[in-house]
């Protein structure tokens, strides 16, 4: 029998694994707001239950070597994945119930659902889904796995920037967080998730890339480009309130001008 705590870890691991596999323990610690030793402690317990696999340190030892996608870390076993999905399903179904039926706001619904997910039995789960009309998403728009654990999601292909060809356009999905300084530096240049990026030139033999972001071109070394993950197509609507904010500024000004 899993404890509530273990279930919470499973859920966190599942969410993190959607972003990147395998997961490094510090990411989990950061995500749950706990210390790294307690993460490791729990990971070993989950490992004992056959729910996760954990292989060694996630950091390479080589100097400035590119680790590519062969890094070590935590990953969910199929059994763990299945258990996590059930939890996610229960959480999201509860959220739907709390908002649609009981009329709670999203924030409280999320908090309550965190508690409910651990006590819902398979039977209640089934009835809940039935009553709600087998919803596909939670109130926040995240997909709800069906009872077999399948998630309907337009499978988006996420690949590192360095795998793009010349003249290919994409959108930054995320930047590896292992190097906060790099992340911060790229952020100050405007290379943030959900920003469009265009590859202009790829130097052969593992050379650098020439990319265009906004009006500016940057040279990015291959090892830097391997840490920037992109997906196809343009920026999703709704994030980074560019246009909206601009109008806000202008309106304020106009009002001030007439006052």
């Amino acid at each position: 029998m899993l404890t509530e705590k273990m279930e919470e870890y499973l859920e966190a691991l599942f969410k993190l694994s959607c972003e990147e596999e395998p997961i490094i323990p510090t990411r989990v610690a950061e995500y749950l707001g706990v210390t790294s030793p307690s993460v490791l402690d729990m990971i070993h317990r989950l490992e004992g239950e056959g729910l996760v696999r954990y292989s060694g340190s996630a950091r390479g030892q080589g100097k400035g070597r590119i680790h590519g996608r062969h890094r070590k870390g935590i990953s969910l076993t199929p059994k763990g994945n299945r258990a996590a999905k059930t939890l996610v399903r229960r959480h999201r179904l509860s959220e739907r119930f709390l908002t649609d039926v009981l009329g709670l706001d999203w924030e409280s619904a999320h908090r309550e659902a965190c508690k409910l997910e651990h006590v819902i039995s398979p039977e209640v789960e089934e009835r809940l889904a039935e009553m709600l009309g087998n919803p596909e998403t939670c109130p926040h728009g995240h997909p709800i796995p069906d009872e077999d654990g399948h998630i309907k999601e337009d499978a988006e292909e996420v690949k590192p920037l360095c795998d793009l060809c010349a003249n290919e356009k994409g959108c930054i999905a995320r930047v590896d967080e292992e190097e906060p300084k790099l992340l911060q530096y790229l952020a100050s240049l405007g290379m943030l998730p959900d920003v469009d990026i265009e590859v202009k030139e790829v130097a052969p033999f593992g050379g650098p890339l020439l990319v265009k972001v906004g009006d500016t071109q940057y040279a990015l070394g291959r090892e830097v480009a391997s840490k920037i993950w992109t997906r196809k197509g343009h920026r999703k609507a709704g994030r980074g309130r560019h246009k909206h904010q601009g109008q806000g500024i202008k309106k304020d000004r106009d009002e001030r001008g007439t006052a």
Partner: protein, 674 residues
């Protein structure tokens, strides 16, 4: 946090009524504007990171004395790279009365980010919208008044190279400085939830912290804490007793992360970019269709691999030929002029006026020293400096950085390091300072070591003026090959042994600009001036001292201990060894003194042809090789020490001396065997 004041800034503060800081992204023409305003000669170039330390100067406007601080170009004021830190220190510790932010009109959105950050910090700001001419040419029109209205700060359109608008800029700045209020009113706000959390933290800051470091506004400190700025977080926690506050700020940052799925620092950066982007959209209009300019198309050729590499090779060949041939032609011209009109008449003049004595003879050595400066050093330097200025000003070095990135990885560096290494061929001193654009210490150590091995213009003058001229161009070329192999193998070895990590290349690429003739000539003159004012007097005094030693016979006592090393190991005359040691002051001294020595050592022979009678071709080669490799000069040693500390600078210096002696000995051995 110790509130250190920047010593240099304090020095000019005593004299100045106001201090203005110049800030801006790299390569927006900040140094050009600084030079225009202050009449100073700071080097400028078309690549990022030319200014890596604070430049200071005084200027006067309407009877007010104003100190100007030129901050390093930077994209942001974070704590993630040396240039950002330097700019930040300049603002926080330098405490300017206001900041003049220079914006590139061609790339307003990205440039506004820094300005917003200054406003967040609570600095009074005046903005210069620079490079207006280029923007207009590419069809970008900016509503300057609207921009100024939205930002709530004065904005002045400028063209730095022509000096347009700078007068108005300074007057606006002065007006603001005279009427200064405490903190500017922020013209923007972040998303509601971020804003309300900042306010929550702000209230805590106001309650708990009495003396906010650097007199920042509570809002500024709150934002820095949410951004998890290491410096401020540790200062508040450890020195201001704000453990509670930090716990709270961590909680708030975590809340933001939970809501947005991103770290608070990133969300704030995103907000700033969003605001900057929408402001730029509001005030700028772009022409519908722009044909890529000639510069843009050429630029594409130089960065594309198939065309870029051949272009690079051709350019390198052209440079070598220009220096060798052009410099040689000029040298002959100068030599003829010198001998006919100045050198010989003065020489005989001295003798007839003062008679023959140790003193008059030594004076004649000094005159020969002047001749050596004119005949050898100056012509080669002149040609080289013009080429270097062209390379820097056109922006071609950016393309080189891009092309060589892959290769530089083998040396433990990345493409960006190639710029200081190439500019080291001008002078090692600014090149070593230029390594600050590299983000890790490991990279800076490797780059500095390689820079020191790159022959600077002074050593080029020696190679050209001695080896190419007397031993033939093939040997000069061989010398370059040896140095090239040395630099590469040193890099490969250092990559293996220097501990630490190397970062990757992230560099903004700038399209070509047509080099401005005025700026190229100015830069050439600035560099030559340095040579004429500092090196030439040294050479003349050095020649005089050597003359005194020689004429008085002291020289034998001094060269005695050098004999085994110089004659035995390197196979060159011991007096030539003395020239090598003098060259520690300035590398040109080696050749100048050698020529003077030769002219005096063999009586009756004129300066031009004498060297070959004093030393063989092989000896000249060995001499120049040792001179090229051993620790560059006292100025480079000083800057190494300043940048890397005692231990690493000593290790680098000692290694170069050992390398020089080893290779010199090897060269002697080969010559003997042949």
């Amino acid at each position: 946090m110790k509130e250190e004041r920047l010593e240099e800034v304090e020095k000019i503060r005593r004299k100045a009524e106001y201090i203005f800081a110049l800030a801006g992204n790299p390569n927006v023409g900040k140094s050009t504007i600084f030079n225009r305003i202050t009449g100073m000669g700071v080097m400028t170039a078309n690549y990022p990171g030319m200014t890596v330390e604070l430049n200071l100067a005084m200027t006067e406007l309407d009877g007010h004395k104003i100190g100007i601080v030129d901050l390093p170009g930077t994209y942001a004021l974070g704590a993630v790279s040396e240039d950002q830190l330097a700019a930040r220190r300049g603002v926080l510790q330098g405490k300017p009365d206001l900041v003049v932010v220079i914006l590139d009109a061609n790339n307003l959105a990205r440039n506004l980010y820094l300005l917003l950050q200054f406003l967040d910090l609570g600095c009074p700001v005046v903005a210069a919208l620079n490079l207006m001419d280029q923007a207009e040419r590419s069809g970008i029109h900016t509503d300057v008044e609207l921009l100024s209205e939205i930002l709530g700060v004065p904005v002045v359109p400028t063209v730095g190279v022509r000096g347009d608008g700078l007068d108005e800029l300074m007057h606006e700045a002065l007006e603001l400085a005279e009427s200064r209020e405490d903190y500017p009113i922020l013209p923007f706000s972040y998303a509601m939830d971020i804003e309300s959390r900042v306010r929550r933290l702000m209230e805590l800051v106001e309650r708990e912290i009495e003396d906010i470091p650097y007199c920042l506004s509570p809002r500024a400190l709150s934002i820095l804490l949410l951004e998890e700025d290491e410096e401020f977080v540790s200062a508040v926690r450890d020195e201001l007793g704000g453990e509670e506050l930090i716990r709270e700020s961590i909680d708030i940052a975590r809340e933001i992360k939970r809501d947005h799925g991103e770290r608070a620092a990133l969300i704030i950066a995103r907000e700033r970019h969003g605001i900057a982007g929408s402001i730029a959209d509001n005030v700028q209009e772009r022409g519908e269709f722009e044909r890529p300019s000639l510069g843009a198309r050429m630029w594409e050729y130089t960065t594309s691999f198939k065309t870029g590499i051949p272009i690079l090779l051709v350019i390198m060949a052209v440079i070598f030929v220009a220096i060798f041939w052009g410099g040689g032609q000029l040298a002959e011209l100068f030599a003829e002029f010198w001998e006919r009109f100045i050198g010989d008449p003065i020489g005989s003049g001295i003798e007839s006026a003062l008679g023959v004595s140790i003193f008059s003879q030594s004076l004649k050595w000094a005159v020969d020293g002047v001749g050596a400066v004119l005949e050898i050093a100056l012509p080669y330097l002149l040609v080289f400096y013009i080429i270097l200025a062209l390379l820097e000003d056109s922006g071609y070095l950016n393309s080189v950085a891009f092309l060589t990135d892959r290769f530089m990885h083998k040396l433990g560096l990345h493409g960006r390091a190639v710029i200081p290494i190439i500019s080291a061929a001008g002078c090692n001193v600014p090149a070593v300072m230029g390594t600050r654009v590299l983000s890790t210490r490991r990279e800076r150590i490797i780059a500095s070591f390689l820079i020191v091995l790159v022959p600077c213009s002074a050593r080029i003058a020696v190679i050209m003026g001695a080896v190419a001229k007397y031993s033939g161009w093939a040997l000069a070329l061989l010398m370059y090959l040896i140095v090239l192999v040395l630099v590469i193998s040193a890099g490969i070895i250092l990559n293996k042994i220097v501990p630490g990590e190397s970062a990757g290349l992230v560099m903004e690429m700038f399209p070509f600009r047509r080099p401005s003739l005025v700026i190229v000539l100015k830069k050439t003159w600035q560099r030559l001036k340095d040579f004429v004012y500092i090196a030439a007097p040294l050479i003349i005094v050095g020649s005089f001292i050597l003359g005194l030693l020689y004429e008085s016979g002291w020289i034998l006592k001094l060269t005695g201990p050098l004999k085994p090393l110089m004659e035995g190991w390197l196979g060159i005359p011991a007096v030539a060894g003395l020239a090598l040691i003098f060259a520690f002051l300035r590398k040109e001294l080696a050749l100048a003194l050698l020529l003077v020595l030769a002219a005096q050592a063999i009586p009756g022979v004129t300066e031009g042809s004498s060297l070959l009678e004093f030393m063989t071709k092989g000896q000249i080669f060995t001499f120049a090789l040792v001179n090229t490799i051993y620790i560059p000069c006292v100025a480079t040693l000083a800057v190494l020490w300043k940048e890397l500390g005692t231990r690493d600078s000593l290790v680098i210096s000692a290694s170069t001396v050992i390398l020089a002696l080893l290779l010199g000995g090897l060269s002697h051995l080969v010559i003997v065997l042949l």
